[in-house]
Amino acid sequence: MRHILPHPLLALALLAMWLLLQQSIAPGQILLGAGIALAASRAMAALQPERPKIRHIGKIIKLIGLVTVDIARSNIAVTRIIFEGRQRGQTDGFLTVPLLLTDRFALAILACIVTATPGSAWLEYDARNNTVLIHVLDLVDEATWIDTLKNRYEALLLEIFQ
């Protein structure tokens, strides 16, 4: 099984992408998509990527929900900051956050979350010290930011991946 289908999740995702792009679930497209997914995931195996270990599917949905709400909230916050412009003075700042996550996939997802959220940007990850440098546009309270990052996202990602 492992030999024919080295990365089942990847193959499934590729098949889903193929069907979405074709906008069809005709048997022919499923067959063609499955063939492409199989070939592509075997090619991927040649690169010997690490296999993500996903534990809790339900937690992923919770994470998506949390992130969507947070992104919506910070969209509004950043819009306000842009219009207030120069009058509001400097509130931005750098933040070094120590992380417990070491799984590459989890780190990649955390980077996507932090970057996708307006008002915070993932700048530099230090693999040796396991810290990340984040720039925050409206850094009123450092502790709140670290708390959000660690307790909202990192805790969930730890449950999902490690």
Binding site: I81, I82, G85, C112, A121, L123, N129
Partner: protein, 124 residues
Amino acid sequence: MIETVDTPVWAAILVSVLVLAGALLTLVGCIGLARLETFYHRIHAPTLGTSFGTIFLLLGSVVYFTVTNQRLAVHEVLVFVFVSVTTPVTLMLLARAALYRDRTERNGNVPPSADPDYTEQGQR
């Protein structure tokens, strides 16, 4: 290939609101890019366009094509996935270049590197 039908009023209004909201957010992001002062401020503004700006535009597209083509159009999801997966890559490239520049030139209040082998001349 695609047979379109007349768009019902409710759909037309919903689509217009969604597309306008998305376009406005993207515009605000662009204004922010022009108005904010430093590099580290500016990187935050376009995120409006890549997060809810994109989400609203894509939702508008989903509603429009689902209603007019009488079938579910969901491939817009892929646009969102690719946008959110690729933006951090470019952002990190730009950010690390800016950090490197500011550390070597000692501009502003950039924190020193967490890497102990990194010297102030920027040489390892």
